[in-house]
């Protein structure tokens, strides 16, 4: 009686630098094309931030009928709402054919950065005669000059709230904030929600845009940004001997998870089944310890155990591959630790160079790639990987897309503070 319900992916929606929808993203991945371009349009002058995966032509009006509500949506929220609409459309679901109380939302986000011009007004109006900031003036005039609903644009739970409002989704609603592992983990948590029967359908994924002054400044301070000079489409090179950090992207990915029973009943197009989810923390997290891969290993192991599989059963790992040398090495050590002399049928790819690093949102689109490898029988290459770092001896897909049967695909994502999440997908 207590058999767990099976959960499948029945729809995909993505908005990235490659375009709107999962198709342009997938096509770019299998064609080995990076959508990273020059960051000149961001007008950052001589600041050393040269390239990014920017979405050039996003207009929220295309996805949101109520124009007024766009004003209270930060870019992250707008992207999530857009991706949610695309995902529901792809799954052929609309409010007429679902029970809103049985559909929920789980997204991965984190701190949404303020628009500096928006809060800047409040601070400019808080300067005293000598040009110094006055807390008294801020309390009186500064606050009043801010947009009254400003605060609501930046609460981390707002993307999931707007997605629920725009699409009338009244089931469970959650927001996971575990750094770059957040979106992967959101998908894992949503899978559990359906498995235990709390919903029949969940919209799961995440959203992020760090292509703003506060976002760039933080990652720059942390020393994570690549300073590698080359043509924009060539700079981001995880696992290559030239890897030196991340190149930022922006975007949102939302997948429609559905109970197998419900998807079959309505004849849905099934991309893959989700059969395993594992999370962990780098419990002895010390950024100086380049060799400590145990936390990452545990997340992968836990996801495989959840799926009832052995490492030898895995055809593809869509690696975190952030391009931060230490993270790439740790991930390589973690993956290697499961295999002896030979990797067997395992192939490893990494797709962050396609869109740039989506940070909190990264797992949301990368999970789509993992699912699609099982459906399309294609494994995209690691873009810009020419000569792997000698500390990363993994069976990479290099050069061009590989065509082969994929029964089991795993995705890893690891956060900057030591959060790890892995998912296992299976061909249906």
């Amino acid at each position: 009686m207590s058999a767990k319900r099976r959960v499948v992916i029945a729809g995909l929606g993505a908005i990235t630098a490659c375009g709107k929808g999962w198709e342009p993203y997938w096509n770019a991945a299998i064609q080995g094309r990076s959508a990273i371009v020059s960051a000149k349009p961001l007008n950052l002058g001589n600041f050393p931030f040269k390239n990014a995966g920017m979405i050039p032509d996003f207009d929220a009006k295309e996805f949101v009928e109520n124009r007024k509500s766009i004003k209270v949506m930060s870019r992250e929220i707008q992207l999530a709402v857009g991706a949610s609409r695309l995902a529901l459309r792809d799954a052929k679901l609309s409010p007429e054919n679902y029970d809103p109380t049985r559909i929920g939302v789980t997204l991965g986000t984190g701190i949404i950065n303020n628009d500096l011009d928006e809060i800047g007004i409040g601070f400019r109006n808080s300067l005293d005669e000598s040009g110094h900031f006055s807390m008294n003036k801020f309390g009186q005039e500064g606050i009043r000059s801010l947009f009254p609903l400003w605060f609501l644009k930046y609460l981390p739970n707002m993307p999931a709230c707007h997605v629920s409002m725009v699409n009338q989704l009244r089931g469970p609603n959650n927001t996971v904030t575990t750094s770059s592992a957040a979106s992967t983990q959101a998908i894992g948590e949503a899978y559990h929600v359906i498995e235990r029967g709390d919903a029949d359908v969940m919209l799961a994924g995440g959203t992020d845009s760090k292509l703003n002054a506060m976002g760039i400044s933080r990652l720059h301070l942390l020393g994570f940004l690549s300073q590698h000079e080359d043509a924009p489409e060539k700079v981001y090179c995880p696992f290559d001997e030239k890897h030196d950090g991340i190149v930022l992207g922006e975007g949102a990915g939302i997948m429609v998870l559905e109970s197998l029973e419900s998807a079959k009943r309505r004849g849905a197009n099934i991309y893959a089944e989700i059969i395993g989810y594992g999370s962990s923390s780098d419990f002895n997290y010390d950024p100086r310890d380049a060799d400590d891969f145990t936390g990452k290993r545990v997340a992968i192991r836990r996801a495989l155990e959840d799926a009832g599989l052995e490492p030898e059963d895995v055809n593809v790992i869509v690696a975190n591959g952030s391009g931060i040398p230490q993270e790439d090495v740790q991930e390589s050590l973690a993956i290697q630790s499961f295999y002896g002399q030979t990797f067997g049928k395992l192939q490893v790819t990494a797709v962050k160079p396609v869109t740039g690093h989506l940070v909190y949102g990264s797992g949301s689109v990368e999970a789509m790639v993992a699912a699609l490898t099982t459906k399309k029988k294609l494994i995209p290459p690691v873009i810009n990987l020419v000569k792997p770092d000698s500390n990363c001896p993994l069976p990479f897909v290099i050069g061009k897309t590989k065509s082969c049967e994929v029964k089991v695909a795993v995705i890893n994502t690891f956060g900057f503070g030591g959060q790890n999440a892995s998912l296992v997908f299976q061909h249906v």
């Binding site: 319900r5 984190g110 900031f133 008294n136 629920s164 989704l169 959650n174 948590e189 235990r196």
Partner: protein
Amino acid sequence: MHPWCFNMSKRRVVVTGMGAVTPLGNNLKDTWLRITQGKSGIGPITLFDASRFPTRIAGEVKGFPFEKWVEHDPPLACATRSTFFALQAAAEAYKDAGLRPFCVNPNRFGIYFGAGDSGIDFEPFLKTLLPSFTTSGSEIIDKEKYLVNSSQHMSALRELESQPFMTVTHLTRLFDIRGPVSNCLTACAASSQAIGEAFEWLRRGDADVIMAGGTHSMIYPMGVAGFSLLTALSTRNDAPEKASRPFDKKRNGFVIGEGSGVLILEDLDHALHRQAQIYGEIVGYGSTADAYRLTDMDPEGKGASRAMEIALEKGGLGPENVDYINAHGTSTVVNDSLETLVIKKVMKEYAPKIPVSSTKSMLGHMIAAAGGVEAAFCFLAMRDSILPPTINYEEPDPDCDLDYVPNMARRAEIAVTLSNSFGFGGQNICLAMRKYNGK
């Protein structure tokens, strides 16, 4: 029959340890004593100069030993206020649960937290922002200047620590938690949701013991500014202790509180095996969304009442079983009347007889941390047979006509409790808890 009724063979979840840091005390014992005495933890804001802010009061944590933690563990040097609260509450809960290394397998010890973010690092931000104003054009801030200035004035480590996940990173490190890990941030519902999701993890068998709860402090200039602009805060600045008055006719908004509440959730068999103390059992968790409007709650409270119904149903409970409800009870005009409506709808003819109280009347609203301490109060109410009061209840509101345990704690036998938490943006969480009677 709902699908979850098929899963009656699932593992049972009990609470074996609790801890808190609140405006009424730096541990749960002191907090609970003052709660049962009906004391208020609200006072003037001292954390920054709020003397010209529309709201100048809050529930601050007092006399907290920050230095002790840093001395003990130098990597905490740049940790945020709310991370320290979480560590203290977690240490209390861990000890209270009788946990020691080797009595729980670290790989079966997980954490599901609702840690809030800590906002902008204000002083370095000012130093970065103020020299970055433009002199012409449509932009207010010159982004290139901002970036250059930030490299000089901001600290990488402090920026990293301000992210909401760092609390959990420290907790896993210090308590050797190597099981599954998550942090959710669903505004005012976060720590209740974390406890509910931890309950589901345990029922699924993903861990034997889980540290769950939340921590938050939003008593900083941008936090007070943000809530003020939403006209959500009480402006009763001249009478801080009277400002949080849930369900009272003269309520005019919530008061920001801060702190942390942490529970140790444990698989019943695991707890019995190690002969742990058992406060009670978590039996139900409901999570829904209003999907209504950004700034308003659904006027019929459909989502909130469904969350309560799901929690009851998962726990195999009906309205007739409920002995106490710890309300969300924020002291805003809308929440309290709507929550009353929701309780009446779900509890039907039993509603007038069920005591409902809001401990936010004493602590203020601890935002993401609120649900953690409120769940702890539910277990303590069951243990001590005491209903915590709603203080500052002076004038009845015709829209709020339940038994709010006005002003004075009251003795009562309590076997089943509910705790409501509703988030800004429409997340509704309800937890159902019951006394553990040895069976």
